[in-house]
Every structure is written in C-alpha cells, then in structure tokens.
Amino acid sequence: MAGFDKVVGSYEEAMAGLEDGMTVLAGGFGLCGIPENLINEIKRKGTTGLTFVSNNCGVDGFGLGVLLEDKQICKMVSSYVGENALFEKQLLSGELEVELTPQGTLAEKMRAGGAGIPAFYTATGVGTPVAEGKETKLFNGREYLLEEAITGDFAIVKGWKADRYGNVVYRHTAQNFNPLAATAGKITVVEVEEIVEVGELDPAHIHTPGIYVDRVIVGHFEKRIEKRTVKEA
C-alpha cells in the first residue's frame, strides 16, 4: 500500500518543496487548531517572501507570529489580524501587506479553490471597502459581489486523528478553516495528534478524505489558549 501511505517521518520532509515567494494556506482560528509545528518548521527553514492565507496571524512568539520575527511573511490574507506588536510594526513600516477579507468570504474562497469553482457571488461586503474594484451583479433585485477562489502552493493543516491514507478528523472547534485549507493546497500537509489504523475512522464521519492530503505527520502540540475564560466555581 505504498501508494496511499502518506505518513512522513520528519517535519523537514513534511515541508519539503516550500520555496521563497510561495502562497501557504493555514488552518486555525485564533490560536485554536493551528498547525503549530509546521509553522515552526517554516521558521527553521527560513523561507521568505511568503503569502499566508489564514484567518489570523497568531500572537507574538506563537503561531504565525513567529514567522514575523525574521520577516518571512510579505503578505497576509486574513479577516482579523494585529493581535501582536510585531505585526503592527511591520504593517506600519510597509514590510507587511494585508488583504482583509470577510471571514465567511475567506472560508468560501478556500472551499471554492479546492472545489474547482473559480468565483462566486456573495452579498457580504457590498457597499464597503471590500467591494472596491470587484464586479457586482443583481440577483432577485439584490446586489452581490463577485469573489474569486483562493488556492495555495501549500496548505498546512492541524488535525486530531488521521490514518496513513490521509483521512482526517478534527477535534471540537479546532476544525474551523482546517478542512477548507486542506482542499485547496497543491501540496497539503496535515499534522495530527495521533495516527490511527486504516479503517479505524468511520467512513461516514471523516472530515477530510485522504484524496486531498499529500503528507501526514504526527506531532506534539502546546495548544496555547488565547483567552482563558472560566466560570465562577
């Protein structure tokens, strides 16, 4: 079964082929469900000029924030950024470009990229700065914007469990953008907490079928919490 065995043994192998100037789609929402070790490997490699498509850009010292330290990112496509000082500094100095995209449009653009839909219409953003330079069209009397799909040279994804065939399930709300990014990368790399036997995952409940996945690696995760909220005891 060599043909479908997607497990790689090292993070170096997992990110092999990533080159300066490439576009990378990253799963995660805030610090939840981010491919933290794959990000760290990109830091180690020192690849630069990267465009990241990710809902957020991590925080100082964690998540995509670590790639700001050596100025590896030249552009972010995100819905919400600036949770860290370094980001703000590089944005204001012009070293970093940001394309702000509504969260739902961002999710749908990745899905479209993976699904062979080059563009779709949405009411989101009509009449706002997001609409600048975009085609609009009326459907049933309402105005909609044409939004184009996003694909990446790489997609980096954080799963919970995967089998060797690359079938993946996500845990709780760590799912978020991960299955969407997974569909839209030319090379999709998934890091997981556990590799299970082929056949162990219920076929009807696989979030990301292996057809989308090129490489799987098992890692250990810090899972830092961004806003720790607990109820009064």
């Binding site: 700065p129 806003k227 909220t229």
Partner: protein, 219 residues
C-alpha cells in the same frame, strides 16, 4: 438615566423567541445570553463553527480546542453541532440564523452600519461582521447613542467605511430603542427617565417621534 450595559442586554433579550438560533457579537451582545427568559430556549451560534455554545468551562474542563468566535474557552450544550468555517458561514450567509446582535460605531437612516474601521487608526479587520450583517434578516445593533464627546452615532449618513449597506432595521442604544423605516429612525421606546428631548438632541439623522414614546420596561 442611560441604560447600563446589563440593562441593554436585558432589553435585547426581550426580542428573543423560543427556538431562536442567535449569533451574539463581542461586548454587550454577549451579555444577552444571561437574560434568556426561563420559559424559553435559544441556541447560540458562534461563527468559528459551533452551534449550541454553552457557558464557560471550569478550570477542570477547560479545553484549548473548544472556543467561541471571541476566542474565549467555552463549552457546548446538549444537541450542539460543530463544523467548518465554510459551513458556519453557509448558515449565516444563507439566512438561517434567526437573530444577530452586534455592536457598531455608527448607523444611519438608510440602515447602513459602520463597525470595523476607523481610518488612520490601526485596522484589525472585519472578522465575521460583514458576513453577519449581510446574511441576517433580523439584526439588532447595540451601541451608545453618542460618543463620549457627545457626537451622535445615529446619522443621516455613516461617515466611516461601511460594514454593510442597508441591512440594519433595529438599534438599541443606551437611551432608546429605534427602528429604521423609510429613511428615518423611528423612536419606539426610551430608557427609563430619559426624555424625548435628549434623544432628539443626540440623534443627528432624521428622527420620527410618535406622539407617545413609552419607557422601556424590565421584568
């Protein structure tokens, strides 16, 4: 007296209906969850991919993989479902959420809303706000009636870049409950002890004041 944040949440909660799926934004909207009438069930949608958000966890049950759209650690209620961001916004954009409550900087008489961007200040992004206002039919905006400097936030035309165009019909401020109809704010209720004159004075956009403007009541 201007409403407190808690009173604002209480007033918004009066708009809930049994069986509503509701998306609550950050800030005052989040507090609405504390005032769901006891004879009523609502289910909270969090746009990061959770339908059926529960209360905060205890120190024992806290889980980094279970957060809401405000990035707070949360729990789920029985009957919850968890899904991708694309599915979450399919729900929102497709109009399946019954009520959306969110804050704003400005609202105008044409139902435009500005809530995400102040030029020349650092722009962090719109998150899911543009999708929420474009997708929902039933939106309540909660905000103070005027800025700290006394400048009205209920305008004839939003000055700030928009979050959405022509999508707001209901506004709750600390002074009043207003609905937007035919290019004007219609004053429906006033905060207890707040005069119609104060509301007129602090409303820059066209305001229609009915003969009788009842005070809000709180159970």
């Amino acid at each position: 007296m201007a409403l407190t944040r808690e009173q604002m949440a209480q007033r918004v909660a009066q708009e809930l209906q049994d069986g509503f799926y509701v998306n609550l934004g950050i800030g005052i909207p989040t507090l609405v969850a504390n005032y769901v009438p006891s004879n009523m069930e609502v289910m909270l949608q969090s746009e990061n991919g959770l339908l059926g958000m529960g209360e905060f966890p205890t120190e024992d049950t806290i889980d980094a993989d279970m957060i809401n759209a405000g990035k707070q650690t949360v729990t789920t209620v029985k009957g919850a479902s968890i899904f991708s961001s694309a599915e979450s916004f399919a729900m929102i954009r497709g109009g399946h959420v019954d009520l959306t409550v969110l804050g704003a900087f400005e609202v105008d008489v044409n139902g435009n809303i500005a809530s995400w961007m102040i030029p020349n200040k650092l722009i962090k992004g719109m998150g899911g706000a543009m999708d929420l206002v474009a997708g929902a039919d039933n939106i309540i905006v909660t905000m103070t009636h005027a800025s700290k400097h006394g400048e009205s936030k209920l305008l004839s035309e939003c000055a700030l870049p928009l979050t959405g165009k022509g999508c707001i019909k209901k506004v709750l401020t600390d002074l009043a409950w207003l609905e937007i109809e035919n290019g004007a704010f219609v004053l429906k209720e006033r905060a207890p002890g707040v005069t119609v004159e104060e509301i007129i004075e602090k409303t820059q956009g066209k305001l229609i004041v009915p003969d009788h403007v009842p005070e809000m009541t709180f159970a």
